[in-house]
Symmetry: C2
Subunit: 346 residues, 2 copies
């Protein structure tokens, strides 16, 4: 087994192969956990849970306690950045989050002092988790990618085809570039502050990077992501990055990796892990990419998927994770079985 630098996740991000590999799950502090549902009911709402540092720290630790995951990821939401930029965010009702829409970059707050004030609960929560977490566990901070955040800010919420954001990008490349620049500056500041507060790794989630034309993928995903990482590394030289351009084409993953030099790339469910091990594996660590639905299904489907993943990943520095966030109706016992399968397979 390779030398452990700090946590197993950090070790893999430093290029070491670990066996068994480290495991954590995107959205691991979430609704599938009864203790999370209780904490959320006590807090009153999802947003109150995000902005109450003590409660956020508590739910962050829940899945680590229950499943002995190798990393905690701070409980927060990518929409804290639009909120820091001065836009109202709400999570009422069942239609997914709503964000006050943005029609021009001039509407956004550019004062880094105000950003830090509005984002302070996240850093407070990170400090609390860092103090409580055993030192062999990593603590992951995160932010949404500028493209993904822009789609929410332009559309006012999640959308199937991100039409409004794409149209803005096509019709007025310059002003859309300015919008991405302001969001990116806030994202960079947010990631730096999370690392300074105690996060050992940060992940950039570009959840809506799929289905973009070549031009939009380069201008709206790759370029802003590269800028953010350069800025963060300038301020926090030891920063470790996981990049997640979800839904990118294989060529897109390759170009993203080459442009950003991320320490690990998180693969969505559709990417063939064997392809990634061959073409990306020598240049970065891999993370992912079990189907969240295979985890809901459990049984033979789950065992098959885990065995195939571990076989394809053998010898490659990699982190077991899903291809997307864990789903609310995932049986807790399937998660326990997944951890057991990963740790017992040779």
């Amino acid at each position: 087994m390779a030398e452990i630098v700090s946590g197993k996740l950090s070790s893999v991000l430093n290029g070491h192969s670990c066996e068994p590999p480290p495991i954590w799950l995107m959205r691991q502090a979430g609704r599938y956990l009864p203790e999370y549902r209780e904490a959320r009911a006590r807090a009153g709402s999802f947003w109150e849970l995000c902005t109450n540092a003590a409660a956020a720290a508590e739910v962050t630790l829940q899945p680590v306690h229950r499943f002995d995951f190798d990393a905690a990821i701070i409980f927060s939401d990518i929409l804290v950045v639009p909120h820091a930029l001065g836009k109202a965010v709400s999570f009422e009702g069942g239609r997914g989050p709503r964000v006050e829409t943005t029609r021009s970059p001039v509407e956004l707050c550019r004062d880094a002092g105000i950003w830090a004030e509005r984002l302070a609960p996240v850093y407070d929560a990170i400090g609390r988790v860092a103090a409580a977490l055993p030192k062999e566990k990593d603590l992951i901070g995160f932010a949404g990618g500028p493209w993904t955040l822009a789609t929410y800010m332009v559309e006012g919420g999640a959308s199937l085809d991100q039409a409004a954001a794409k149209l803005w990008a096509y019709r007025n490349k310059e002003s859309f570039g300015e919008l991405l620049g302001i969001i990116g500056a806030c994202v960079a500041a947010h990631l730096c502050a999370q690392l300074k507060a105690g996060a050992t790794v940060v992940q950039l989630f570009d959840s809506w990077a799929g289905g973009l034309s070549e031009t939009l993928f380069r201008d709206c995903v790759i370029t802003p992501s590269r800028r953010i990482m350069q800025e963060v590394r300038k301020n926090v030289p030891h920063a470790k990055f996981i990049g997640f351009p979800r839904g990118a084409t294989q060529q897109g993953y390759l170009e993203y990796l080459e442009a950003t030099g991320v320490d690990a790339i998180s693969l969505d469910t559709a990417v063939l892990f064997a392809w990634a091990a061959e073409h990306l594996g020598g240049k970065t660590a891999l993370q992912g990419n079990l189907d969240p639905l295979a985890l809901v299904a459990g049984g033979e489907a789950l065992r098959d998927a885990v065995h195939r993943l571990l076989a394809d990943a053998k010898g490659t520095p990699h982190v077991v994770n899903l291809g997307h966030g864990i789903l609310p109706d995932t049986p807790v016992e399937n998660v326990a079985e997944l951890v057991e399968l990963v740790r017992s397979t040779r």
Copy 2:
């Protein structure tokens, strides 16, 4: 210029490179056209337009008359197949189509005589269009892929993550395979009948093939598509196929092509055309893949996209099209400009 076998589209599907390349657009008979909106208002509803052969033939010809496209695609809907299988389909309200849900393969009608009866208006419409269409224009028939149809039939409509269909596939591979088999038999019969009625080419639309795990893509997209094409070719040896596994990974496109031997592969917007020209272009004709949003935007974004596409495709047998259906709010003048750009660029 290469020899024209019948239409320019057929010629490209036979492996000849045409300059300028043929052009048609997915959903070209649609709501962006004022004459379509008029015909639909007269028919009463989308479904009545689909099932009235005279009206369907009329709207099929509209975009060919207006833009001199190189092919007509019969005006119909992929949900005629679930309807033929005995499930109620409705297009009321603004939430997208609804399909009576399917819980078991035994619920479905397996009587090919009844299928043909229920699908007769499509064949009638094809006969009318074939009679009216100049012989240098191709007439495209189509059907949805079994996976895409199954997602509608299991979920009861379109869904963001096709969770219910994936869960069925993971939990009970055998019964889901049986479901795909019955749908596939009806799809094959439907494509054969369209070819016999006068279609010169057929396209298989697997619109929800994106984001699938390796296992599901192979079992639910590739295997059923290959079976359908084998069955159709057995009955109609001259059948020409365009395959559209929308959202597949690059590896997925490669495997789909190798397994099915389609005469052309339709690429979604995210696929790098230069990659496709290099890796798929020698084995099949390419179709696509302009961003429908670049067509809505028009202006420089559209001109850039068209010029890049034509440069990347130069020398490869290809058909200009979008990466997905044309959007209802596309300005008609942008479509005219697209056709002009394609026909005037050298």
